[in-house]
Symmetry: C2
Subunit: 323 residues, 2 copies
């Protein structure tokens, strides 16, 4: 495994980039063993995406879907298997994909029985005239599209269940307000961006949401322009962070717009949005972004972000903490 440095200083050259969430990731919380597991999983997701890119036809969409499917299947990350629990003890997942050549997008929110929400989002893009499908309706569409399902037990991990129980206990002890945002789990999201041999970019994002979330809250992941964006003329973006801030700032589209109308590079645009605009607003998180020339950046304004990229030659670089 190759652990990268210098990483956030400027753009790197890559064909595929992944993240596994940003947030209060501190060395004291991660054992050496768990850290190694995270890095290995990130590297494996990069290889899965790279292999899909190398296959024929091997589109950017194939690459980001394969990378995100791997992360959804891995219980370490808050998406697919290993998703966090809502206040009611349910798992509700969101995902989105966008294709930079056609500008088409697909997104699902609040799905509970779909093994790989990213694959359902891709089916929405490819097999429907719609962009965004919610809840039971989205699951009906999964039946129509033949998307693989899984029972609630499949997604459940003991660690996530205990996180919910701890939060519920804390709430009752503190008589906390009815709508606390979970500090620990605001940032659990996975995503990938890629560029293929034709110069097409794509983005994919998937999440299990927030531990203890209520009221059918939707974060930025499935909101096109907030957590997910792809446009060949500018870039592909997948975000992770405190979703409400990414929605209020249309963060992913704002990066693209600064390139399109302000003449910024992808590195400058992503830096301005994450380190200037969102930081000033108190919006914690990060993004991965790549342009059609393979210039990629992975900025974050939190203590850490699970992240990595893979080069044209198939060499992966993975990291968790700032360089």
């Amino acid at each position: 495994m190759t652990v990268l440095s210098p990483f956030s200083a400027g753009p790197v050259r890559a064909v595929l980039v992944v993240h596994g969430g940003a947030g209060t990731i501190l060395r004291k919380h991660l054992t050496a063993r768990l850290e190694a597991e995270y890095l290995a999983a990130l590297e494996a997701s990069l290889r899965a995406g790279y292999n899909a890119l190398q296959s024929s036809p091997g589109t950017a969409m194939d690459g980001v879907e394969a990378a995100v499917r791997f992360l959804e299947d891995c219980p370490l990350f808050n998406s697919g298997r290993g998703s966090v629990f809502t206040h009611d003890g349910r798992i509700e997942m969101d995902a989105a994909v966008m294709d930079g050549e056609t500008g088409r997008a697909g997104a699902v929110t609040g799905v509970t029985t779909v093994r790989n929400p990213v694959t359902l989002a891709r089916a929405v893009l490819e097999q429907s005239p719609f962009v965004m499908l919610a809840g039971r309706g989205a699951e009906e569409f999964a039946t129509f599209a033949g998307t693989e399902r899984a029972a609630p037990e499949y997604f459940r991990t003991e660690e996530r269940w205990n996180q919910l129980q701890n939060q519920l206990r804390r709430e009752s002890e503190e008589s906390a307000p009815l709508m606390s945002l979970s500090e620990d789990n605001k940032f659990g999201t996975v995503g990938a961006v890629a560029v293929d041999a034709r110069g097409t970019v794509a983005a994919a994002t998937s999440t299990g949401g927030m531990t203890n979330k209520r009221y059918g809250r939707i974060g930025d992941s499935p909101v096109i322009g907030a957590g997910t964006w792809a446009e060949n003329a500018t870039c592909a973006v997948s975000a992770t962070g405190h979703g409400e801030f990414f929605i209020r700032h249309a963060a992913a589209h704002d990066i693209a717009a600064r390139m399109a109308y302000g003449g910024r590079t992808v590195a400058e645009a992503a830096h301005e949005v994450i380190q200037d605009k969102l930081r000033a607003a108190g919006g914690e998180g990060g993004v991965i972004a790549i342009d059609a020339q393979g210039n990629a950046v992975l900025p974050f304004n939190t203590a850490g972000m699970y992240r990595g990229y893979i080069t044209h030659d198939g060499i992966p670089f993975v990291s968790i903490y700032p360089d």
Copy 2:
């Protein structure tokens, strides 16, 4: 009633602007009497918004909420009472608001029992840390916030019910694909944008969705950056049209971004997005937009758009067809 001309040529000076949907509105479809009813309702919504703006404190948010509540309560428009029916014969409504001073936003999707979805969206903005709430969770939040409810019968109109029956009949006769987009009712949305005495802008959008919609489809209205946006430094926008295109192009935020990074006026930016970008992509619809100086535009690329604005002096102008 004052019916306006010239309207779309350039910016007008206004404090509040409304739309009641854009689409294939042809003179041959509207009797003189129905046309007069639409114009009177638009004018009344402008006056309701204007009165709220004139009250003390009278914020832009007060203005857009009052105008949209009037349109939601009016059965002529596809929002609140008079919403269209889904494939399953249900009424599912979406709404969003955004405040241009704070950048805060609130949105709800798939609500069925809330008399004024725009008021619930404002409650999300003001009384929760969230931006977007869906379905039953959003209705739980309505209970928490004390938002007025209504039984399904309240929203139901015979005309909308017959529209669904006609579409279902047509589908079965033509053995149409499982996912037809309703040509007649893609564009049923209401919205308002306003600027108040402090120079704060706000936007509100509300819709009953598409007749015969399936799979929990969410359009652009509740998607911040797609159908709704407000930012004092640029403008407030409310969109109506074929929602998938407005999401794929982050249309409302794109207008603001062209102003922020490209130096465009609100009139230029809205024209570029509606008449150039969306028209080229086949995305039918329109927007209303206003900047903090009260420059307002109401462009659309469809046969008509129910629309109007009211000046600082309280003089309303309303129109349906191109000037």
